[in-house]
Symmetry: C2
Subunit: 325 residues, 2 copies
């Protein structure tokens, strides 16, 4: 069918030659002014429990070629980005919060960037409402760690609590680090504002903060797993009901193309990159061996699937989208 | 942190030992009776045009180990399935229809399995409504081919047209084949009911069927590309606006794990497997070279992304889900 190749070329040529004509035709028909995207939530079951992935946004961020990978040559990073069809000028960073209806209450893992964080993020509240979840019904907010894109949504800039009826569970090591004046004074310049943000965002919850350690069971079937490295007290959560298990990873990996595929990459966002790499490999090895469903905070929505060992890293196998929960 | 590995094991053991306790706790809290999934639609722009992927369903189908791959050993097929974390006892087949607002009218590519096709499929109409698209507003239904999961949604079993105001565009070779009594009598037993279904589903549109050939422009920027093989007159559609191009592939590939990764696999669903393979490679080579966004009818929802050449086949790079169109 040589005709076909020719028709493709002709179509492309015609399009290039007469874009005005096509635009005119489009304008005549008056397409809808505002196009409404589907709401950014996705539900699935873990045993008898219902988990909901909630999109907080997808935001343009500086390329790894600008922020740098501590232990890889820019040429190698660039080759890896091109292999994954990633742009080299920037990347799009997805943010995804997880909710869990435990039957006793509504639990939220992290809170997104916050409603006032700009046009690309802060969609958590809207997507919760679309999913039939009321922020006022949240009984427990469980934090993986305190980086701004995770704690931002706890409160508004004026100090209003977004989850007025929730207890906030935090890793004890994470809390100790970010509330320590000595750590703040020793921290690199760029990290200091985060200490101030931690104070502001947690202030409305002063009497409702619960510090937890490794292995603590926060709700029936919800257990903390210490995964230090990305931040000093980073915690991953295991949700189990019957034989079904889900891991809410937090920032155990950034985008899959970065350090799921390249677990050895030491990114600028990892506070202790050596520890972050060891932790990442330990958890992903287990997730691959036991075929545990995972939610990655920075995996593209709906942000859940399974990992397979491949080469020195891992491959993400996204779970199929099902219209039925 | 040996503690952590231990706590994982303990958690698993606890879960296995006391599932009744957990179920009881869940029951006490009275979780929502019916859990509503997010609607199955996803919108994105092609230049100034808006495309909408619409999920018709996700249905359990016999494994390739039962239906067979004509030119591959079962052991090789099984190894490939396991590599992709696919089950070997069955597979889940996604069905996804594409809509395009051309500015002059609303175009639909294929129609899904039909509203009466069982509990796992037939969600097209509901998802159209969720996406703000009215079946009565469809001006043109454009068919890739006539297999039952593509034409089923044209009409109800009682003969009611689902798209009362639409013209139906069909490939001339596809029409010729499925309306030929000789072909029907020569067809394998299992394929004969499809001839009857074609008669029933197209009957309500008798005066509104437009036969098209390779290269025909159906709407501004929408062009037919003959991609024969999967069926005798299978057609893929190219949508172009400005420099943006989208290919609505139809069944150029089934699930990506099948013949995107293994373009050489000759599946039972391909009527002329040799031609289907050649066609597939030609289009995917071009899609990979030109980095053209594609929608695969049987790719997991939201069913769109880019293909990269890898080994003897192709790798799918799903497009990121964006909350903004």
């Amino acid at each position: 069918m040589p005709m076909e190749r020719r028709s493709l070329a002709l179509a492309a040529a015609a399009t290039l030659a007469a874009p005005a004509l096509i635009r005119q035709a489009t304008a005549q028909g008056a397409p809808p002014a505002a196009v409404q995207q589907a709401p950014g939530f996705y539900k699935f079951k873990v045993g008898g429990l219902v988990a909901t992935v909630l999109q907080d946004g997808l935001a343009r961020r500086p390329s790894l070629l600008q922020t740098g990978v501590r232990n890889a040559e820019p040429s190698a990073v660039e080759a890896a980005l091109r292999h994954s069809l990633m742009p080299t000028t920037h990347f799009m960073n997805p943010f995804n919060v997880t909710a869990l209806d435990t039957g006793r209450g509504l639990v939220l893992f992290d809170t997104g960037n916050g409603r006032e964080s700009g046009p690309e993020t802060g969609m958590l509240a809207a997507n919760m409402r679309a999913a039939g979840l009321d922020p006022a019904a949240v009984t427990q907010v469980i934090m993986t760690h305190f980086h701004p894109d995770h704690i931002g949504g706890l409160a508004l800039n004026d100090g209003t609590a977004v989850f007025p009826n929730a207890e906030i569970a935090v890793g004890e090591r994470e809390w100790a680090y970010w509330t320590d004046a000595g750590e703040e004074s020793r921290a690199p310049e760029g990290r200091r504002p985060v200490f101030a943000l931690v104070r502001r965002r947690f202030a409305p919850y002063a009497n409702r903060i619960r510090q937890i350690g490794d292995g603590v069971e926060l709700a029936p079937g919800v257990r903390a797993i210490a995964t230090y490295g990305h931040s000093p007290g980073h915690i991953t959560y295991q949700i189990a009901d019957g034989s079904d298990v889900l891991l809410v990873l937090g920032d155990l990996s950034s985008r899959p193309e970065f350090n799921l595929r390249h677990p050895n990459w030491h990114l600028a966002v990892d506070q202790d990159p050596q520890m972050a790499e060891a932790t990442r490999r330990r958890i992903f090895d287990r997730a691959a061996t036991d075929r545990v469903r995972c939610i990655g905070y920075h995996w593209p929505f709906p942000s859940n699937g399974y990992v397979v060992k491949e080469g020195d890293g891992y491959r993400l196998v996204p779970a199929d989208w099902s219209g039925q929960v």
